[in-house]
Symmetry: C2
Subunit: 196 residues, 2 copies
Amino acid sequence: MSKGNLFIVTGPSGAGKGTVLGRVMPSMEDLHYSVSATTRAPREGEEDGVNYYFLRKEQFLEMIGQGAFLEHAEYVGNYYGTPAGPVDECLNKGMDVVLEIEVQGALIVKQKRPEAKLVFIIPPSFSDLELRLRSRGTETEETIAKRLEKAREEYQMADQYDYIVLNDKVEKAADELRAIILASRCAVGRRINLLR
Amino acid sequence: MSKGNLFIVTGPSGAGKGTVLGRVMPSMEDLHYSVSATTRAPREGEEDGVNYYFLRKEQFLEMIGQGAFLEHAEYVGNYYGTPAGPVDECLNKGMDVVLEIEVQGALIVKQKRPEAKLVFIIPPSFSDLELRLRSRGTETEETIAKRLEKAREEYQMADQYDYIVLNDKVEKAADELRAIILASRCAVGRRINLLR
């Protein structure tokens, strides 16, 4: 059996990655959403292994030492990372796997796994992105300015991306992301057994 | 503006290429179905420029001399070919173009245009293919045997194909072909302008 495909879904903060994926995931079979690991404390309602794998700092550092993460980062005193184990387990079973991660992490995974498909989800415009960030009501003016500056930098990395999905309408964006995943399943490398 | 993508849709005779395309074409915008040229006489109801470009033999031979075909072949005394002009006109306008052609012609176009996506449509099985050919009621036992033998040869050329679509259910096959075309439109090369 041929291995599954790895999809790295990324984009500027506020582009709507989660919303688009929320539509795609339930509509496709054999698609695994990779759960991240973190050292931050669970928030109310969060479940271990569902929202995150909640690890102690020593566990996390040990896993870093073992090279057990596809990517990891520290953010306001907590660690976040993508454990390679569950991802490879699914891929080896022939399932496709989706990582929903930040652009920096996405580029690291893409370097390690060049065969992965990097999908960059963007908002219709920068003014729209600003609006979306502002409407969250949780970000300071300074954070918003920083995030926009970061988005501008991320737009410069286009040569690292495989696909661009414009999230002007979430149904259309979800349809496109689904098409990217479905088309990859039709690639001759995945289906060569059908010709034998 | 970036150029459109060229899709070569092919497969064994009897695999259902036409039926699948009949579902996909009306459901997508900016998709041009390439009309073939032929020297055979129009059948009742066939229109020039719709079913075929009907050409006189001298015209056809002159066009061959000018290199005006992406591929051409002679079949029971008549010429058939894919005129390059209308294809390139559409591609240059940014439209996607679909060629529905025989495997031999498909491989010739793929050599000339390596960036084209070659989609190989197959029936669920060889016994199913035999059934489909037989149910047409127009083929002799000898023709059926020849077509099956040809299909076997075509299955060996897998390294030349980009995608394989299994036509076990026509809706599913059409969904996959549509996904292949839609996903190609999301490729970073086509959408780089969105990042500027």
